[in-house]
């Protein structure tokens, strides 16, 4: 029988058609809602409510954004979220790097036991209420900056990924050479290992950073003071509890107008709060993929 990989059988061609069609549909189904939100945020709320908006902005206006940016809570939330992101991620990276480096070293006695102790927390934990009581009453983690930083200081998963990276991607001979030259462990980590680990540090920074930016659960439970709330809690009030009244209203607008304005602001709030992630996205995407791969290699 003649065999020629260049010619496709009819079945194979049909197969290709199905594959490309399904993927095209998936792509559209993912993209459409996102495009709609952006378009809606630039549209006159009346056009949205009347159902004239399907894809492109209708009666383009920046009114919704103006309203959102005039809101002091949004600014406050942005500022708080940025602080939590920067401080939190710095602590994350420092802790994870130190722990992962120590665990990667064969001469650390009891490292298997430590790994086990750490990993156990993945499958068993104190549960919501004992954790809450311990944090609040015993550790003083309540209504302050630290409750947004300390409880998530180390992720076991990232610790393991980073340890594996140190073990597999950095030749141990390099470290030994440093020791012979009289370098301490800390010196080796800072001067030899870290400079060679920038890809994984970048991946970790992004993992932790996105998690901080998107988190609302610790704030819901441990933050009472309104002025400390992160952006996610602020937009939760606006988007989900639909508490737009103090935002839209004011200057003698009728109830109907307020409802309309709130409608447009919903979409602007979504865009504004997701903007940092969406701007980062193109730069971040390939690193994220790499991060998942590194994690998967571990097995």
């Amino acid at each position: 029988m003649e065999f020629n990989p260049k010619t496709k059988s009819r079945g194979d061609r049909l197969f290709d058609v199905v594959v490309y069609t399904v993927l095209a549909i998936v792509m559209l189904a993912t993209l459409y809602p996102l495009l709609y939100i952006v378009s809606a945020s630039f549209s006159d709320p009346l056009a949205i409510v009347k159902g004239r908006l399907w894809l492109w902005p209708q009666d383009v206006t920046l009114e919704s954004y103006r309203k959102v940016f005039r809101n002091p809570d949004i600014w406050m939330g942005y500022r708080n979220s940025l602080i939590y992101l920067v401080v939190g991620t710095a602590v994350n990276i420092a802790m994870t790097t130190m722990g992962a480096y120590a665990l990667s070293r064969r001469d650390l006695k009891g490292r298997h036991a430590l790994s086990l102790i750490f990993t156990f927390t993945l499958i068993f934990n104190g549960g919501l209420v004992p954790t809450y009581l311990t944090y609040k009453n015993m550790l003083g983690l309540y209504d302050n900056l630290w409750v947004m930083v300390i409880p998530s200081a180390v992720s076991v998963w990232n610790l393991i990924v980073m340890r594996t990276y140190f073990q597999t991607s950095i030749p141990y001979e390099l470290q030994e050479a440093a020791f012979i030259d009289g370098c301490s462990n800390v010196g080796t980590l800072v001067r030899i290992v870290l400079p060679l680990s920038m890809p994984i540090v970048a991946v970790m920074t992004m993992y932790y950073g996105v998690a901080h930016w998107n988190s609302y659960f610790p704030a819901l439970i441990y933050l009472h003071d309104h002025s400390r709330l992160p952006l996610q809690m602020i937009i939760r009030n606006l988007l989900i509890q639909e508490d737009m009244s103090n935002m839209a209203g004011g200057d003698g607008a009728s109830l109907m107008d307020q409802i309309l304005q709130a409608e447009g602001m919903k979409y602007a709030v979504i865009v504004v709060s997701s903007l940092p992630m969406l701007i980062m996205y193109p730069f971040v995407q390939k690193h994220f993929v790499k991060g998942v791969m590194v994690g998967a290699v571990k097995g």
Binding site: P33, G127, T134, N214, I240, L278
Partner: protein, 310 residues
Amino acid sequence: MTASSERPAARTLLPRSIRKNWDLYLLVLPVVVYFLLLKYLPMYGIQIAFKDFSAAKGIWGSPWVGFKHFERFFDNYQFWTLIRNTLEISIYQILVAFPMPILFALLVNEVRGKWFKKSVQAVAFMPHFLSTVVLVGIVMAFLSPSTGLVNQAIRLFGGEPVYFMTEPQLFKSIYVFSDVWQNMGFSSVLYIAVLAGIDKSLYEAAMIDGASKFRRLLHIAVPCLIPTAIVMLIFQFGSIMDVGFEKIFLMQNDLNRSSSSVISTYVYEIGLLGSQFSFSAAVGLFNSVINFGLIVAVNRIARKSGTSLW
């Protein structure tokens, strides 16, 4: 820490090795302290599930009451509703949301054009970076009965508007399918990586044998994915009692509560909102223990088939 368990010969060596590497132990110390204080100390607090916790007496000083709170939970009229909702959402999730990334990865793997392949993946990842709050906000905006896009489309075709968010029967589907939309692309990365690592000669051999593209997918790509899929499935089963508080809590309202109350939201309600600390801790512990048992059991079954977590 391990010094005492070593044999005598090693004991004399250990202090010196620690002395030599003291800064290494210093590096790992903060991480150890972190796990002890922030993860293991709350486990010590679990005892309040067997006590009548009073803030004045503290965790240690409160009186023991045995299984009182557990019995109260089992007799609770909501017990079966909570269990059923928790299981239903989890199983729905496993049946629908779990296979999607695998199917998606298989399809992406068949694409030859680099540009198309890259764009499909880039687009499919995107929703993963939205926060839960934003995702639920989007879902609610789209499904709104008066202004939402979905209902406008329904009205356009002459249908009656559907009150999606307040309809208990629809809650679980909205939960699961919004999850598919958000996470399918990103969860597929792992599977795509596995598929990219398949030995090309397998495909060439199959082609020479005259296997069609579909057969190659079925007999080469799918079997290569199975070990990875099993590990992921174990994880899923391990958290079967643990459907996410974050999203359900945000999607919940008084009208859909009959199908959206799950153990994690119940623990929050009675514990933190209702201040019944001991009762809530008992419910939480019951949940954790079942979860723990599940992951151990599932792992044991999986080990018989040759793939397991430990």
